[in-house]
């Protein structure tokens, strides 16, 4: 019989993680009371004046609040959809490549951007997308008019979403490739003997085999829906595209850190947390239902 002590060992292994979680995620939660205060640093959280819902009322009186929430949701949803489909399709194509050397090279190239910070990548992007940048030169070469991608509310979200996909798809592909290798090769052999062609093998074996992974990733990413990419947008936006690109995080950064409106910034941040909580709970329910993914 397994002794109780050996189970305790396993529990002990959880301890560092739990401690970190408490230190960095639970303790700071008390800071949200600032959202209901006229926060004065010298007085601290305990002695600052309580103002009730004032910060929230002010937040909703601003013409920006609805815009910011809308931007955050739409950018995040577009990112989730593109971020799921592109690596999926890429992994399927990749799976069909036989040449190992070629495969490795491609894989390295596509996941390289994942390791670069947005500060660097945004510099690259701004150059690529400028009026005399390579993309506009190509457009002109085909007879089009140059486009100012980063100064246009029409294009800005598109740039944000596609550059995010470009940065991350190579890395996300790895998950699918891992899932692909776990599909039993006997199935393919049996299908081949039965006379299934490549496309039929794809639709009948590969895609169903990957579906659980897709659903799992999709539902889990719902919890992330309000993280539309702070660092990326901060480095790429300018006042003209606030209309289409300003998200909760960039707004909180500007008003909280640059303009010293602690109460307001915390109120906006708290709103984000509440919405995120609902979405995480929902996505957990969905994951449990469709992908049989359970923590408890």
């Amino acid at each position: 019989m397994r002794s109780r002590a050996s189970i305790w060992n396993y529990h002990l292994m959880l301890l560092p993680g739990i401690l970190l979680l408490i230190a960095f995620s639970v303790v700071p939660m008390f800071g949200i009371v600032i959202a209901f205060q006229d926060f004065q640093p010298t007085l601290g959280i305990f002695h600052s004046e309580w103002v009730g819902w004032e910060n929230f009322e002010y937040m909703f009186s601003l013409p920006d609040s609805r815009l910011i929430l809308g931007n955050t949701l739409s950018i995040a949803l577009m990112k989730i959809i593109a971020g799921l489909t592109v690596p999926f399709v890429f992994a399927l194509l990749f799976h069909e490549v036989a040449n190992i050397k070629f495969k490795r090279t491609i894989q390295t190239i596509v996941y390289l951007p994942h390791f670069m910070s947005w500060v660097i990548l945004s510099g690259v992007l701004i150059n690529l997308l400028s009026l005399d940048g390579i993309i506009n030169q190509m457009i002109q070469w085909f007879g089009g008019d140059p486009v100012m991608f980063l100064q246009s509310n029409h294009w800005f979200r598109f740039v944000i979403v596609s550059s995010d996909v470009w940065k991350e798809f190579g890395f996300n592909t790895i998950i699918y490739i891992a899932a692909l290798t776990s599909i039993n090769t006997n199935l393919y052999e049996a299908a081949a003997i039965d006379g299934a062609n490549r496309f039929q093998r794809l639709t009948n074996i590969t895609i169903p085999g990957l579906m659980t992974t897709v659903i799992l990733l999709a539902t889990l990413s719902l919890g992330n829906v309000l993280n539309a990419g702070f660092e990326q947008i901060l480095n790429l936006y300018n006042p003209i595209v606030y209309e289409s690109g300003d998200i909760i995080d960039t707004y909180v950064y500007r008003s909280g850190l640059l303009e010293i409106q602690y109460g307001l910034a915390t109120a906006v941040g708290l709103l984000k947390s509440v919405v995120s909580f609902v979405l995480i709970a929902a996505s957990y329910g969905l994951a449990a239902r469709f992908a049989n993914y359970r923590i408890f």
Binding site: P41, T42, Q151, P239, I240, Y242
Partner: protein, 565 residues
């Protein structure tokens, strides 16, 4: 007879007294408590004098008996010219201050980037862990004062600010600079001084004008003609249409800003971001006037015609500077001290010949300007600081060094062009009319070629002007100094200048709370109108929204503040 006798006696007496003083000086010089400016190098071996005497001598330059450590947070300096081995944390300027005052400087943080610095400051405020001395902006200063984090400097200033520093402040009419540091009559911060003449000049490539056979522009229309020619007629002669028009900055208007469009607004009699009183005695905000709308429509047309750099919104300061130094831009707005930035272009291309002009002029041939806000940054001292007076003493000593009053300071980094920002505290102080005050001195020195009786502080600059006149553009730092301090500084005093004085500077309560959102609305609207993203009519909507989300409240507060100062 009797009278004469008394007089002789008096003379004799006074001579004796003077001798006595001298003797006293001589005998006590070894144990000197007060490090007089010139005697800064003398070693302080004292320490056994009664403390009462020390109290008496306690002034701006008195040296601490025991070493005192002061913590600072500061913004770093890019291109600080320090020789290898020396850093912002360890250089001769810090050592100089330390030697004279026995004050050790310890940096809590030092970051170069403006935004990052502001973040550090706000974090320090929010966590209530301030260094002893900080230089902050107005909003941060007001917040800190409101939160009761700051030391009252009223008495410390009286006792420990050197006469020079007091002179600087006194040179501003109506005490208007020092007043910005006062709250309820108490001096809570030491403001910097924005000297006269920080408005934007039009900088233009004279060599390009010559090449395209164009006249020096004066009116707005002439300026537009020049921009158009610079843009379209390939002034650099490389056969490519790669020159951009007028450079821009996304802050649109800014006091003393680089690449901002203030002069175009001013030529339309528009003065955004300032407060005025109309004839009926009502307070109004310059950004909401019909003149501002007019200026915006002019900028909008210029942008649409490609006269303004199409991509100015995605450009940072360095990008614009890059366009200048690579010879792709030949016309821009910048203050007189833009001379330094533009000298870079000359380094890359000696043919580039930048000249500053006080244009565009309005219909009456005037260049209207709004005088700078009295101050923009504030030195504050933490309430918990052990030696609040150290800040004033350090500043006093610093300015003896910066202005080269102390001969010892003249030897520090001699001729290396190490900027004054490397001194521990970065508060810029000068006489209100310091530019105008010096220009005649340069002119006289150039005419007479005599440097003998010039004040020490101005000597290096006069030398730079002379050096550059002899051998133009050979020595780039000398060229830069000459371009800024002499050429551009004399333009700032042009006879076309008309000052339009605002009625209110500073920040009211509601501005602190709602100002940021209002500014965002204003900036966003202006940029959208200029770039054609929104129609011009958006301006009227902006005025409405501005009023409803706090503008009206702020206007009332400003009116009250103006009525009862």
């Amino acid at each position: 007879m009797r009278l004469k006798k008394i007089r002789v006696m008096a003379v004799l007496l006074s001579m004796v007294m003077m001798l006595g003083v001298l003797a006293a000086c001589g005998s006590s010089s070894k144990e000197e408590k007060v490090a007089a400016p010139a005697g800064s190098e003398s070693t302080n071996a004292g320490g056994n004098e009664p403390s009462a005497a020390a109290k008496e001598d306690d002034g701006p330059f008195s040296k601490y008996e025991e070493p005192v450590t002061v913590s600072l947070g500061r913004q770093g300096v890019s291109g600080n010219n320090l020789p290898a081995g020396d850093t912002l944390e360890n250089n001769k300027y810090l050592k100089y201050v330390e030697d004279r005052l026995n004050v050790k400087v310890k940096y809590d943080f030092s970051v170069e980037d403006q935004d990052a610095y502001n973040q550090k400051v706000t974090l320090a405020i929010s966590s209530n862990s301030l260094p002893d001395i900080l230089v902050v902006d107005e909003q941060q200063f007001k917040r800190m004062a409101k939160a009761g984090m700051l030391a009252d400097l009223t008495e410390v200033f009286d006792q420990y600010a050197s006469p020079l520093i007091k002179d600087y402040y006194n040179s501003y009419t109506g005490d208007r600079v020092l007043n910005t540091g006062r709250i309820d009559g108490k001096l809570m911060a030491l403001p910097n001084t924005n000297i006269d003449g920080n408005y934007q000049l039009l900088w233009i490539r004279q060599d390009w004008l010559n090449k395209l056979k164009l006249e020096t522009p004066r009116t707005m229309d002439e300026v537009k003609t020049v921009i158009k020619a610079f843009k379209e007629q390939d002034p650099d002669g490389n056969g490519k249409a790669d020159t951009v028009g007028l450079l821009g900055d996304k802050s649109v208007v800014a006091d003393g800003g680089f690449f901002t469009f203030d002069p175009i607004f001013n030529a339309n009699h528009a003065y955004p971001k300032n407060w005025f009183k109309d004839e009926g005695g009502n307070i109004f905000y310059g950004s909401t006037t019909p003149e501002t709308k007019q200026a915006l429509s002019e900028l909008r047309a210029m942008y649409a015609d490609g006269l303004i750099d199409k991509e100015f919104l995605t450009r940072k300061y360095e990008d614009n500077a890059g366009l200048v130094s690579s010879g792709r831009a030949g016309i821009l707005f910048a203050p007189w001290f833009g001379g330094w930035a533009l000298s870079d272009a000359v380094k890359a291309n000696p043919e580039a010949d930048w000249v500053p002009l006080a244009v565009p002029l309005d219909g009456d041939g005037k260049r209207n300007i709004v005088p700078s806000t009295p101050s923009g940054t504030f030195m504050v001292v933490n309430k918990k600081a052990e030696h609040p007076e150290a800040a004033l003493k350090m500043l006093s000593v610093e300015y003896e060094g910066i202005r080269l009053i102390d001969p010892a300071a003249q030897e520090l980094y001699k001729d290396l062009g190490v900027g004054w920002l490397n001194y521990p505290i970065n508060v810029q102080l000068d006489y209100q009319d310091s530019l105008a005050r010096d220009v005649p001195i340069y002119e006289k020195a150039i005419k007479d070629k005599k440097l003998d009786d010039l004040p020490a502080r101005i000597l290096p600059r006069v030398k730079a002007v002379l050096k550059n006149n002899e051998n133009p553009k050979k020595d780039i730092p000398a060229y830069a100094d000459s371009l800024a301090f002499y050429t551009a500084a004399s333009i700032t005093g042009a006879k076309e200048i008309v000052k339009v004085e605002p009625v209110f500077y500073g920040k009211t309560e509601a501005m602190l709370k709602k100002g940021a959102n209002l500014e965002k609305l204003e900036n966003e609207t202006f940029l959208k109108i200029i770039t054609g993203t929104s129609p011009l009519e958006e301006f009227d909507k902006f005025v409405e929204t501005w009023k409803s989300i706090g503008g009206e409240e702020i206007t009332k507060e400003v009116a009250e503040a103006v009525e009862s100062p």
